[in-house]
Amino acid sequence: MENKNNNNILTKKDFAVGQQVKWCAGCGNYSILSAVTNTLPEIGVKKENVVFVSGIGCSSRFPYYVNTYGFHGIHGRAAPIASGIKLANPDLSVWIITGDGDSMAIGGNHFIHILRRNINVNILLINNKIYGLTKGQYSPTTPFGSITKTSPDGTVENPFKPGELAMGAEATFYARVVDTEPKKMTEVFIEAAKHNGTSLVEILENCVIFNNQVHSSITGKDVKDDNQIYLEHGKRMIFGKEHNKGLILNGLKLEAVTIGENGITEDDILIHDARDSDDTMHYLLTRMTLPEYPIATGIIRSFKSTGYGTLLQEKIEDAKEITKLHSVNDLLNSGNTWEIN
């Protein structure tokens, strides 16, 4: 699997494994895997410095399918395992692969805390709004009223939007992509890797067996331009097949408008500031749902920050500089001791 042509430049092949990938035919994970292996040569990290960590679920088999160091953990716990890896060796590029069951249900607590701490890892949250590995039960992101194996009469629970939880937990990087757009996925993954702090990328993914077409109103060829807005920092929030729709702020609410109607001009359309420290606008964008609004994709928030690991290392360096204890023997002999001769 090693790239024999050039030792310095990595390619996608460097990260491919010989092992047969065992996802269902047509599973959205294939395009995500491909986008990931396209990303890794672009982030300036040696191949031995990349680690993939996962929990449990279909998506969590991911570490077996990418030729890096990998840790397939237990259900919901990828975040703390990855935290330990990253803090133990800050040189590593650590990626968490998780799903809506893994991170929104059993691992919900770890999910909000890793974001709050802002540990410099990248989370790829693959959201297909269903439990796939256990064959079709509703998940915490399944829409209200959905009929599944454990909700034969429709669910009576409100779903989470992962991005809202992320904003609530003071996340510094949040992006949303769809599994049908591999180029955009790669673009976003590269930015996520560059960000110092926890980067959360929510990937809207299709489960071909248990929740087929769950995102088709967002990803469908004929509707995607009108039903999705791909946000880019510094650019106006414009979308639509004709590039004539946009978002404005009306009071405390966003409003989807058409340029040229009701006196709206392009200048009235909001400019996306992903780097704003205040996440209020990012939160509003995250919350947008069909049919009133398009679904926001792209990098919604990317606030430059100092990651937990950097702050921790600074504290360690400071402590080393001022200490008078240079060995454990010094410590054992410090404080209140006495000699008897």
Binding site: F71, G73, P80, I85, A88, T323
Partner: protein
């Protein structure tokens, strides 16, 4: 102090209990008294007795805070059964502690707090000073509050600050009673309040006032002296079990060259380990205060995967929560040290009280066949050594180790001859060098059966581990039935092979005879003291205390065979006894179990062992 013309009696050992309100400074006075005793060469052990409430209402039983110190001319192995001297700053302190004092003990009370208001708070129906319940005790009624205030009235302190010196009045009385050098107590105060000269002055004045008061009253005409312990040379310090564990881990990190990573969640009585290591960033120690117990252990496992010494510290309820993750470390065959400072259970149980009821949880409390090494420390000081050893075994054998301590070892202290870390055994983790062509994730060392440690960031060793069963050698996910059986057997054998490395079990006393007392972990001091006292009385009783629980030392069966009767003593319903029954069913195991959230008392052990010896 040389010109005392009272009667001085020399004692082998004395137990003093300080008791008062949480805010009365009893921990400080106790520490001060034990420090100066240690300084003059006494052996000693201490045990603090905190209420689980932080500041329960003043004057109530729930708010009583205590500190017991046992000092000796002889060697001291426990903080003592019953007190020879009780200092009770209020009626609640007296009421809470009367069952823990010896008949005829000296009881020093602050008479200023013995009034109807305080009796009511303490739940006394009758005046304990008048109802005859204190008959036979030597009661010293000292007006501690009034005299302390009077002594320092001219220093311009407010009443609240003045009252904080009261404990020094009680200390002064004690210095007189036990013929202690006042200068040492004064030195302690000068150091304690070195940034507050006014408090140094006030406390020293009150300490002297207490001493002078004691000198003048009739009730204390007889005083005592505990001479230094014989044959004790070297450099010493006082140490608690929790501190010793933290330092043992640091010593192991220094020796192995692997950084120490503690993933932990605060839980009584293990929290001091997290707190202590948080202070040690200068040694490169990383402490990760996790969002819960599970995150604590998982972060430790992640750190281990990346080449650190992954440690998690907890108590029983936390160990329950960590079960699945410990199984993950078993499956991935990564180093992991789990410290369980046991407390009374189940559920929240008795958070501040010791118990040994997590033994079976440590051995078996996971899904699947999930063997781990189980060690148990047996004194506050040897917590250092077993923490060191836990890291050594975990790294060298690539397997989780559970180290059992308990609330008694954790907060109790004893005198420790400071070791030189150079004399500790080497630690050689099986780290793989880069581009090792022979590396396979589950290739094993043929002797230890441990797999090798390939650290992320190393060239040419990219591999994947995880909770799914893996094929031997290659580490590829495998559901093959025969492979599973093979791997289950290997994981068990890997732990069992340790037997060749651990020392033989030792017997204290004759190596055969009528009765073998068997214990494990933190009951060591009490069992040792009870057995040696019986041996001195001519009884045929021997003693063995286990530190290696899984695997057991290889001569265990041989030892058991040589005794007519075996009694297994533990602070649970018989978990170790049942474990022994499962391994060596040919022997009969008598049991002596106590499960009151309290350590064993020497007298109750002696009584039970004597009974057994008398039974034919």
């Amino acid at each position: 102090m040389g010109n005392k013309n009272n009667k001085v009696i020399e004692l082998d050992d004395v137990v003093v209990k300080f008791a008062g309100d949480s805010g009365d400074g009893m921990q400080l006075t106790g520490t001060q008294f034990s420090d100066i005793s240690a300084f003059v060469g006494n052996d000693l052990a201490t045990f603090p007795d905190y209420p689980s409430e932080i500041r329960a209402p003043q004057g109530t039983i729930a708010g009583v805070s205590g500190f017991q110190v046992h000092i000796g001319h002889k060697e001291i192995h426990t903080s003592g059964d019953l007190a020879d001297v009780l200092v009770a700053m209020n009626p609640a302190a007296l009421k809470a502690n009367m069952k823990w004092v010896k008949p005829g003990a000296t009881i020093i009370i602050d008479i200023d707090n013995f009034d109807n208001k305080h009796y009511k708070k303490a739940g006394y129906v009758e005046d304990p000073l008048g109802d005859g319940s204190l008959e036979g005790y030597n009661i010293v009624k000292a007006p501690i509050t009034v005299l302390s205030r009077a002594t320092i009235r001219d220093l311009g302190l407010d009443t609240k600050t003045m009252d904080k010196t009261k404990n020094q009045f009680a200390a002064g009385i004690l210095y007189w009673l036990l013929n202690r050098d006042l200068n040492l107590g004064e030195d302690f105060l000068k150091d304690k309040f070195k940034n507050k000269p006014i408090l140094v002055k006030a406390n020293i004045k009150v300490l002297r006032a207490g001493y002078n008061f004691a000198e003048t009253i009739e009730a204390l005409s007889t005083t005592y002296r505990v001479l230094p312990t014989k044959n004790r040379k070297g450099k010493f310090r006082n140490i608690t079990g929790n501190l010793a564990i933290a330092w043992g881990f640091m010593a192991a990190s220094e020796r192995s060259g692997r950084p120490l990573f503690l993933g932990s969640y605060p839980i009584t009585p293990a929290t001091e380990i997290l707190q202590e290591l948080s202070k040690r960033k200068n040694f490169g120690v990383i402490t990760f205060q996790a969002e819960d117990e599970i995150a604590g252990v998982c972060a430790a496992i992640g750190a281990s995967y990346a080449g650190n010494i992954g440690v998690t510290s907890t108590s029983g309820p936390g160990l329950s929560l960590k079960s699945e993750a410990i199984g993950l470390a078993v499956m991935t065959e990564l180093p992991l040290v789990v410290v369980d400072v046991q407390r009374g259970g189940p559920a929240t149980g008795l958070p501040t009280k010791p118990e040994q009821s997590d033994l079976l949880q440590a051995l078996y409390g996971r899904n699947g066949e999930s063997p781990v090494i189980v060690l148990a420390a047996s004194t506050p000081a040897n917590c250092f050594y077993y923490a060191y050893l836990a890291v050594k075994l975990s790294l060298e054998h690539m397997t989780p180790v559970i180290l059992l301590s308990d609330g008694y070892l954790a907060s109790g202290s004893e005198i420790w001859q400071i070791p030189d870390t150079k004399n500790l055994p080497d630690i050689n983790p099986p780290i793989v060098k880069e581009n090792d062509k022979n590396y396979k994730p589950y290739r094993r060392d043929p002797d230890t059966l441990s797999r090798y440690w390939a650290l992320p960031g190393t060239k040419g060793l990219r591999h994947r581990v995880g909770g799914l069963e893996k094929e031997d050698v290659t580490g590829v996910v495998s559901h093959d039935p025969l492979n599973h059986q093979k791997m289950v057997n290997i994981r068990e054998q890997k732990v069992q092979r340790l037997v060749g490395e651990i020392p033989d079990q030792k017997v204290i006393g004759n190596d055969s005879g009528d009765l073998l007392v068997v214990g494990w972990g933190g009951t060591y001091g009490a069992l040792l003291t009870a057995v040696t006292e019986l041996q001195k009385e001519g009884k045929d009783v021997s003693f063995t205390q286990f530190n290696y629980i899984k695997p057991l030392p290889r001569n265990t069966e041989e030892i058991f065979r040589r005794f007519k009767r075996i009694v297994v003593c533990e602070l649970n319903l018989g978990q170790f006894a049942n474990y022994l029954r499962s391994l060596f069913p040919q022997f009969t195991y008598l049991q002596y179990n106590k499960i009151q959230g309290l350590p064993y008392m020497i007298y109750e052990l002696k009584k039970r062992f004597s009974q057994i010896l008398e039974e034919k």
